[in-house]
C-alpha cells in the first residue's frame, strides 16, 4: 500500500510559550487487518501502519504502536507542550517498510 497514502496534520500556527497545543493527525491507509477474506476465501495478508511518532524540535511527544485493531485511515489526537518556535516532525512506519513523513512549524510568542 505504497500508493495513495496521504498524511494530514493539523497544528495551530501560533501558541504562547509553555502552552499545550492539541495536534490532530490522519493518514489515509487501508489498515488491512489480516482477518478479512477475499471472494475466493483466501485470507488477505495483513498490511498496516505499525508505528507512529511525533517529535518537536527533536524531543519526542508521542510514540504509538499500532495493531490490526486500529481503524482504516488511522487518526490520532494528542497534546504537545511548546516552549519555543520550531517544527513538529510526524513519521508513520508501514508494515512493508515504507515511511511516510510530514512536518509542520509553529511560531511561539
Amino acid at each position: 500500500m505504497a500508493s495513495g497514502v496521504k498524511p494530514r496534520v493539523k497544528v495551530p500556527k501560533t501558541a504562547a510559550a509553555g502552552d499545550s497545543v492539541t495536534i490532530k493527525t490522519l493518514i489515509s491507509h487501508k489498515m488491512e487487518s489480516g482477518q478479512r477474506k477475499d471472494k475466493e476465501g483466501n485470507l488477505i495478508p495483513r498490511s498496516i501502519i505499525n508505528r507512529f511518532t511525533c517529535d518537536f524540535n527533536g524531543a519526542n511527544v508521542i510514540d504509538v504502536a499500532l495493531e490490526a485493531a486500529i481503524s482504516t485511515n488511522p487518526y490520532f489526537e494528542f497534546d504537545a507542550k511548546v516552549d519555543a518556535s520550531g517544527d513538529f516532525q510526524f513519521t508513520w512506519y508501514d508494515d512493508d517498510g515504507d515511511v511516510y513523513e510530514a512536518s509542520k512549524s509553529i511560531s511561539v510568542s
Binding site: R36, I62, A68, A69, T72, Y75
Partner: protein, 138 residues
Amino acid sequence: MKFTRRDALAMGIGATAVAMLPMRATAAADEAIAAFTGGADIGTGALTLTAPEIAENGNTVPVAVDAPGAVAVAVYASGNPTPGVVTFKFGPAAGSQTASTRIRLAGTQDVIAVAQMADGSFIKTSATVKVTIGGCGG
C-alpha cells in the same frame, strides 16, 4: 406448564452462564496485559478511558485515554481476534498524557486500558462497548 421453584432456580443458573459467556474471550487479553506489565500487580487510579456505550459500527469506534502521570498507556480489546489495539508512549514534549484514536471492535466486549505510571506501577480501567455491526469483516 407448571413453574416450580426448581425450574426457576435452573433458569437462573442458565441465565448466569449465558451472561458469563463473553468473559471467555478475556484469556488472550489477560496474556497480552501480562506481557505489557511483566506480571506486575495492577491497581486502579487516575486513568480514564472514554469509549461510547453503544457503537453502531465496529469499524470505527472512537476511544480516548487520559492518564495524568503515565509514561505509557496500552489499550486492549478482550473480544477481538488479536487483543492488542494500541500502545501510546508519551515523550518529554507531551503536553498531557491524553490521546484519542479510532479502533475496530469485533463485537460487544470490554475495552481495557492499562497505564504504566512514572514510578513503574500499573493501573487499569475498562469500559464495555456494545457493538451493533462487528468490524472484523468476517
